[in-house]
Symmetry: D4
Subunit: 146 residues, 8 copies
């Protein structure tokens, strides 16, 4: 079995690359998926469509175009890794966690110790809380073992 793992959240550090490289090094039977992680491209995802918009409607148009991709990939994944960094609100990551919880889809959170308390509901429904990409790779290695 090939496992599909969705990587959700922070786009300003290289945690995705670390996990993907780690899984590759171990030759794990895992395929990774993700939202479009180019921030500017993501914000502009709906700009080609009419009506030309700014502010709330521009965000709305782009977030729904992005939703075509993210909702589909979440539905198809076997496991999600939800990453919270030390900057920004990252409400979309918490949103993805809630989506997984409602669908009975297992997810692992990945974040530092200092935000345990505000993340307690998100962590409470998670299957595991990891602090480093290396830990995520180690869990993956254990979970997908054949």
């Amino acid at each position: 079995m090939i496992w599909t793992v969705y990587l959700s959240g922070e786009i300003h550090s290289d945690w995705r690359d670390q996990i993907i490289a780690g899984a590759k090094a171990l030759e794990l039977p895992v395929v990774f998926t993700s939202a479009v992680t180019n921030h500017e491209a993501s914000d502009a995802a709906g700009d080609l469509l009419q009506p030309e918009s700014s502010g709330y409607w521009r965000d709305h148009k782009s977030s729904r175009v992005n939703g075509i991709r993210t909702q589909t990939l979440l539905e198809k994944c076997d496991l999600a890794i939800i990453r919270f960094g030390d900057k920004y609100k990252q409400w979309n990551a918490a949103f993805d966690a809630g989506y997984c919880a409602a669908k009975g889809k297992p997810y692992i959170t990945l974040h530092a110790e200092d935000i345990i308390h505000p993340l307690k509901e998100v962590d409470g429904s998670a299957m595991a809380w990891a602090q480093t990409p290396a830990q995520v790779v180690e869990i993956l290695s254990y979970v997908v073992d054949e």
Copy 2:
């Protein structure tokens, strides 16, 4: 028909009271539900249970006890109002929004204009974005009209 409306999010302002009072004044056929909104009681929800815990496990134990209530009430509501204030991370509110989206349950977000951009995914799946409790009451009044 009596509508059940779940009020999710910020617990440091009186937005719940305003909405409930507004609906009462209009005699709307609406029942409101909510998580336990006493912050200290919520944090201590699991403290009576063994093993005595602190830090991560204390949060974990309490968040799961709270989850008995919040998951059940979310499943039973017809509509959720998801409130984001100007303080704190409020990841649980975004989590509830994701939960509603996955279940096909309609929700309205309630927040100020200055956090439109970080909330774009949460707003993108919402049925409406309101800025004041009075607007929420007005929409409720329209929606539940018989």
Copy 3:
């Protein structure tokens, strides 16, 4: 058992009133629900919300506010009556029919004979095709008999 019947479609003739009056005359155990049928109110359902919008976004905002009501009532009904009149596009009525079909919710179409052909997919998934409100009442009377 009280049956809940959702009345979808045309708002420019009195077919809803005829069905409701007919059911009342027979004292059928039926409750009727419906979208907001005041055309102007429906088009303006989102106008109280920011950002002020016109054209596509105004329609979008209002249709989503209306969706809170219509999606909820469709989910809760036992049976839907989908009415197509002789004017306008009435794509929302066909949309509701598709929604019912996907949910396994039974529906009856109500329309004149001259639009049988363009409605063949909508009729093909319907449980019955009626031409007059009186026929709908007669079927209701038969179906809900105790």
Copy 4:
């Protein structure tokens, strides 16, 4: 991942060919599906079956045979494109949109600006509104990017 995209609606213009050609030119990992788009064949889909029928029952018989194909392909697609042209009622396209909405399946509408208002409920549940096949291809290209 190979994406499956269902093309629903108008059969009197070459919009399907344009989208398919555009996706092919970009070598997108997309497979397209569709109802039988030969109008005469579609109307006669049930003619080989007894009882020989005309009018309503002929349409009924054929629409249900067509439904074997269309319902199955809709259930299996990842995304639907719903096209409304400038002629005919096209209630089947709106029906497909409602079906997708009920199943939580994302769809994009494709239509000219002059029918925004009658399509507001259909557009309100769509993830995007495009006006040209080229825009659809551009969104596909963005959404399926690996």
Copy 5:
């Protein structure tokens, strides 16, 4: 809790009356539902609708009108009793059993010993096989006890 019990199958003997009378005598908290059991009325259920039809299409029209009632009542029941008598094909009773099995809805079959073998698939998914209405009442009495 009030239990809702759907009575499916044979309409030529008084088994329904016996079960209802037995439950009433014991004052069980049970409500019974059923298809329309007047054979002629059931066959004519669609006759008021156009197009006037005979043979296959008359049966089709009536069976779908009846389906509005039977499908809804099956979905709402807590338990079904599926009765097979010694005459007729009674394929609708076996159809209802398959419907219950697919929905995870418990059902009890009620039939004589001499048709055990042809009913083995239907009995195999049943929660119990009873031979007399009195046995059904006894099981009901046990099952709904508070």
Copy 6:
């Protein structure tokens, strides 16, 4: 797309072979599945298991072993063909039809004209009624066309 078609019902004539041969001749992209159609093997499916049983319990044990196969194949098929011959009760075929109806899985019935009336509920939920294997092949050919 490869279509999976489940063949349910009568095991005393060669209708399965005719359909399979017809599809093969046309090189249709169809895979056929079926219950075990060896009557004696099917009746003895549970005989290897304890406790040794006869009568009702033997049938019960075998029908549940057979159910592992039939339930799984029904869940995985895209379309079912439900065949009623002129002998025996064939309640399992009607059971499979009800199962499909409850799951929203399309099916075609295949039977002679003289049993239209007792099959009216089974036919009423079918997508088509065919009288010969050749008609089934013709419909398959139309439906799976690429």
Copy 7:
């Protein structure tokens, strides 16, 4: 809102009575349901039905009659309390826990500390682990607070 709480497991101590009495003393809006807890009656639940059976088939017949009640009450409850005592295998309690987990239904386990390790999978999906009926009542009191 009235909460429905299913009490599953051990029938040889008075833990059910303690929880019910505790909830009554606090006037909690809770209704309790349960399997038939009379051991002999439960073992004999199918004895009235043919064929007379002993050993495996007697157990099978009774367990399926009991399943009508237990499956229905589990489906309808908002929360389950799963009790493991210090005697017997109690596999039915673990079975109910697995059933709840699969349905996304919250449950609380109630057991002594010395069986933590063998119950780790059952506890791992629980929302809370309590050691005394009084703790369960305290959690209920917190969770159902209005």
Copy 8:
């Protein structure tokens, strides 16, 4: 079709190896999946994660990491074999059986005759009860036959 069969339960005897070898000898089109069956590795599955824990929380952490694997494989299997040996509590096996029952996923129990009575609820929802791995292989061989 390749069947996926999940092997749940006892890890102290070689029943898994016997079934796998038996299926291989017959060249059955079956793939087997399983929890991690190395007892020490399974108990330590969460040890790499913070916070370092012992007792209840260590078990909790590990059982949830294991749950990522077991829940996913259960969801994806076509059939489960649930094994109860003569030692230990094996509540996780009963838990898996309840999970399968709730999902409508067929399972076969594998256990000796002397624990029939305490397993009656688990067996009551099973499709078959086998006493030896050889019997399981024989049933598999029958069920997956093409």
